[in-house]
């Protein structure tokens, strides 16, 4: 740190001014920007801190939290002052030289920070119940207040210094206050985003069961061929005196068999009081099953209903390496229906083995669903990019300043052009309507009708624009002189009055009905509409007359600005939000997602393309202009060759983004893998969610690589 030999005396007055109102001292000296910035920072950040506390603590009113925060600032400010004084004293009396410093500014900062940590609870106690405050906002408010106090005190020192030295030299560095502001914002951010590091550790177990299933979900991706072996042994129960029961099966060689002894016994009895007396104990043996896998034992009652017997022995038995097993089972309690209760009751003991053949695997139905969803997602991204590209390309020319700014049209041309454009579009849509009828309605031939409609509307609109513009200009030229400007100005004003009418009505419906209430606004609606029309008409007239005889109306710049504004607005809303709207409009599914992505793609690609156009070399454009080429020709020959590589690159990049976006657009009903994944998540099918995550990751990573490669090659 360098010390001036004759440092000017600090100005007490300016310091006091800034103590009372932060930034005022600086402002008075003449550092207006600095003063205003300090004032704004302190007010905004202080207010935000107090407001955050009030929100967190759910204080009924703001002033309470404001007072608490002010107390905290005051307390921490005193702490800092104490440290500053300490430093001065140490410098003066222990180092015995006022020009020596006890420690650097950074040392001070660390000391202050440590003091805040150590004395935190005591400081909080000065503002309110320490426990309550600590519970509500922990240490963050303390640091917010501490930073604000330091900022405030710095501002006082700064004002005193500037006030003493004047504005002559260069102003002291702003590094410290900027650091303090960052600290303050950080403490607020920590609080507002509810950072809770302990939770991340203590509650890990909640995810620890799911995580493996999500990370390695492939068991659910496959299904296997199964072979079911079922062997039976007939058992008679109850066993009347003298009955011998069905014969016991004999062991078979080379194929599955079971046998049980005895084959005649008593059923178990379950008393109403809850006691249970098991039936006769059967010994079951079997062989010829697949070794190492289990068999299930089922009981089928005399009328053929099978169930798994409970509480009478093992029902799931492991087959030994020879394919055999032995087990014991009591005859379960079987309620024999009255109707069939006569005669011998023959039950069936069933031993069933589901042999899973591991090598006979195929994709499970869920996996197939996920693959279909993924394909849908990729195509959604692709289609959105395609349509977005087609629509964005022409729009981008309207949004390129270098192409649009030179376009200046005389008033006559504009008036005729607007009339021609409106008439052309009207004619085009009428003809398109006829064509639609001839083709049998929109539902019959949608693509043809859309294409024909687009060609007719755009073509006739453009033709009208150019032809009528020229025609009208010619017509007025016949009239000659100053009259024609006046006529066009009046006509333009009349035309602008139409949107003025609707704007006025919109103002009445949108603003006045809120301010005055809907009923009163409805009465005045017409007046507002006329007022809007007259206002815009008069403004147009004024503008037209002021520009009379000039170079004409900068229609290019007007179109450029309008296009850019609309694009910016469209782009600032996420595709996810558009998807919510389109899901209602056209129903859930990939079409809604595609439309949403398309809209966003148009806006962003048009901007990217237009920036590419703006950065072309102007030379070829000028050269072609000089040859007498039309505007369209110069675009095709001088602009497009130049923007092709960046345009391809941007498009591929956008495709990449679109596929990424379309994976989650399903969350709001946009179709694709996200839609399926959300449903699995709601069913807690974590393995399936895992499959979706994997597929998304694989696709996006692949695409990322491919798009990077393509882009590298085109530039």
């Amino acid at each position: 740190m360098t010390k001036g030999i004759a440092a000017p005396r600090p100005s007490l007055l300016h310091g006091i001014l800034s103590l009372l109102v932060p930034g005022l001292g600086q402002f008075v000296v003449g550092a207006r920007g600095r003063g205003s910035a300090i004032f704004a920072s302190v007010v905004v950040l202080g207010g935000l801190s107090a407001w955050t506390i009030s929100q967190k603590a759910r204080f009924p009113d703001f002033s309470l939290s404001f007072v608490i925060f002010a107390k905290l600032v005051f307390a921490t400010g005193l702490l800092l002052l104490f440290l500053v004084a300490l430093r001065a004293l140490v410098s003066r009396f222990i180092l015995r030289d006022a020009s020596l410093e006890a420690f650097s500014a950074y040392g001070m900062g660390i000391l202050y920070f440590l003091a805040l940590v150590v004395a935190g609870n005591q400081i909080l106690a000065t503002a309110g119940s320490a426990e309550q405050l600590a519970f509500v906002f922990g240490g963050t408010a303390l640091f917010a207040a501490g930073s604000l106090a330091a900022l405030w005190l710095w501002n006082v020192a700064d004002a005193a210094r500037i006030g003493g030295a004047g504005l002559g030299g260069h102003l002291p560095s702003l590094a410290l206050p900027i650091l303090l502001v960052c600290l303050l914002v950080f403490s607020l951010g920590y609080n507002i985003t509810r950072v809770d590091l302990p939770k991340a550790i203590t509650e890990y177990q909640d995810i620890s069961i799911l995580l493996p299933r999500i990370l390695w979900p492939w068991r659910a991706a496959f299904a296997y061929d199964q072979e079911v072996v079922e062997e039976t042994q007939l058992i008679q129960a109850p066993c009347p005196d003298g009955a011998i029961g069905p014969p016991s099966n004999e062991p078979q060689a080379g194929e599955p068999w079971i046998s049980a002894t005895p084959t005649c016994g008593e059923v178990g009895v379950r008393a109403i009081t809850g006691g249970f007396e098991p039936g006769t104990l059967l010994t079951i043996t079997g062989g010829g099953f697949v070794p190492g896998q289990t068999v299930n034992i089922l009981w089928k009652n005399p009328i053929g209903n099978a169930f798994r017997p409970r509480g009478v022995g093992e029902t799931e038995i492991l087959i030994n390496e020879n394919g055999e097993f032995t087990s014991q089972l009591n005859i379960p309690d079987v309620v024999i229906p009255e109707a069939t209760a006569s005669g011998d009751q023959i039950h069936t003991l069933v031993v069933r083995q589901e042999d899973v053949e591991v090598f006979g695997w195929r994709f499970s139905d869920d996996m197939k669903l996920a693959l279909v969803g993924m394909l849908e997602t990729i195509m959604m991204g692709l289609m959105a990019t395609f349509f977005g590209m087609i629509l964005a390309f022409p729009i981008s020319f309207l949004a390129a300043r270098n192409l649009m700014a030179p376009i200046v049209s005389p008033l006559n041309g504009i008036v005729g052009g607007i009339v021609g454009l409106v008439a052309g579009i009207w004619l085009g849509s009428e003809l398109a309507g006829r064509a639609a009828e001839a083709l049998g309605g929109l539902a019959n031939a949608p693509i043809q009708i859309f294409l024909i409609g687009a060609v007719l509307v755009i073509g006739l609109g453009y033709a009208g624009l150019t032809l009528a513009g020229r025609l009208f200009a010619l017509m007025l030229e016949r009239l000659g002189g100053a009259a024609n400007d006046t006529i066009s100005a009046i006509l333009l004003a009349a035309m602008i009055a139409v949107p003025g009418y609707f704007l006025g009505r919109g103002f009445s419906r949108g603003v006045m009905s809120i301010v005055q209430g809907a009923d009163i606004a409805a009465i005045n609606e017409q007046n507002f509409a006329y007022a809007g029309a007259i206002l815009l008409a008069v403004l147009t007239l004024l503008y037209a007359f002021r520009n009379r005889g000039g170079r004409g109306i900068p229609i290019g710049s007007i179109i450029y600005t309008t296009t850019r504004t609309i694009l910016n607005i469209l782009r600032s809303v996420e595709a996810l939000i558009y998807a919510i709207i389109f899901a209602i409009w056209v129903g859930l599914g990939p079409f809604a997602g595609m439309l949403a992505l398309t809209l966003h793609t148009v806006a962003s690609l048009a901007k990217l393309y237009s920036e590419a156009i703006e950065s072309i070399e102007p030379g070829p454009l000028e050269a072609l202009n000089a040859t007498g080429a039309t505007r369209l020709q110069t675009i095709v020959y001088a602009v497009i060759p130049q923007i092709l590589p960046p345009a391809i690159s941007f498009t591929v990049y956008r495709w990449d983004i679109n596929v990424r976006m379309s994976t989650i657009i399903g969350f709001v009903g946009g179709g694709g893998i996200g839609f399926i994944m959300l449903q699995w998540q709601r069913l807690y099918q974590w393995e399936l969610v895992g499959i979706a995550v994997w597929l998304i990751a694989i696709t996006v990573a692949t695409l990322d690589y491919v798009s990077a490669e393509i882009r590298e090659r085109t530039i």
């Binding site: 020229r470 200009a473 170079r551 070399e617 030379g619 070829p620 000028e622 050269a623 072609l624 202009n625 000089a626 040859t627 007498g628 080429a629 039309t630 369209l632 020709q633 110069t634 095709v636 020959y637 001088a638 060759p641 130049q642 092709l644 590589p645």
Partner: protein, 255 residues
């Protein structure tokens, strides 16, 4: 053929580029325009075919005032006036052939040219133009594969495609080394003499002006400060020279 009357040009930012410039060009002349950078040479040339809109004055082309004609009429005039640029202004990524053909756009019906279709006659014309400037073998190369001198020859071929009555050359050799300068100016001279195409050419070096022009005008800070025939240039005195080029200028390269 071309008459410029009291031409003034003020840029939107207030820079005055031309002040009351008047001169006349006769058919078949090779008019050299001299002056320092920033003296208004480029502005003057661009005002003539209205790439820039002059603020005041008149441009009379073949007896017709073209200062205020509308875009479609202007295109008809522009296609009669070829232009050659200091930076060649070729579309670098397009082939030489397409660059040359694009000089014909003023004559082709827009709808055809938009899908890159030119008539057989136009293509033949392009080949002929390339042959004339000696680079017919490069027709299918990309423009940026050519050297500077070759690119400027493509620029001339493109201007030639317009079958122009006049060529405006804006410092055509300022980006080239001196040997190539003579080659390029030689082509312009040939067009001037053989095809009777009037040439307006702004140049830096006096010796080049002396060698090629039939008449010269000098500009200084947008004002016409010199006008004379071939002899007058040869006899420019030091004081005259300083009038055109300013007090600090040094003569250099004069034979």
């Amino acid at each position: 053929m071309l008459k410029v009357e009291h031409l003034s040009m003020v840029y939107p930012d207030g820079t005055i580029a031309l002040r009351d410039v008047s001169f006349e060009v006769k058919e078949g002349e090779f008019l050299g325009i001299i002056g320092l950078s920033g003296s208004g040479k480029s502005t003057l040339l661009r005002c003539i075919n209205r790439l820039l809109e002059p603020s005041e004055g008149k441009i009379i082309w073949n007896g017709r005032d073209i200062t205020h004609i509308d875009q479609s009429e202007l295109r008809m005039v522009r296609r009669e006036i070829g232009m050659v640029f200091q930076q060649f202004n070729l579309v670098k990524r397009s082939s030489v052939m397409v660059n040359v053909l694009s000089g014909r756009l003023g004559y082709t019906p827009p709808s055809w040219s938009l899908i890159n279709r030119f008539s057989r006659a136009d293509r033949a014309l392009a080949v002929a133009a390339l042959e004339r400037v000696g680079i017919a073998d490069k027709a299918n190369n990309r423009a940026d594969e050519l050297s500077g001198g070759q690119q400027q020859r493509v620029g001339i071929a493109r201007a030639l495609m317009q079958q122009p009555k006049m060529i405006l050359a804006d410092e055509p050799v300022a980006s080239l080394d001196p040997v190539l300068s003579h080659s390029i100016l030689g082509y312009l001279e040939k067009l001037n003499k053989e095809d009777n195409i009037t040439v307006l050419c702004s140049l830096h070096f006096l010796d080049l002006v002396q060698r090629y022009s039939t008449r010269v005008i000098g500009l200084r800070s947008g004002k016409l400060v010199f006008e004379g025939g071939k002899k007058d240039i040869a006899e420019i005195s030091d004081s005259r020279f300083k009038e055109i080029y300013g007090e600090e200028a040094q003569r250099l390269g004069v034979e």
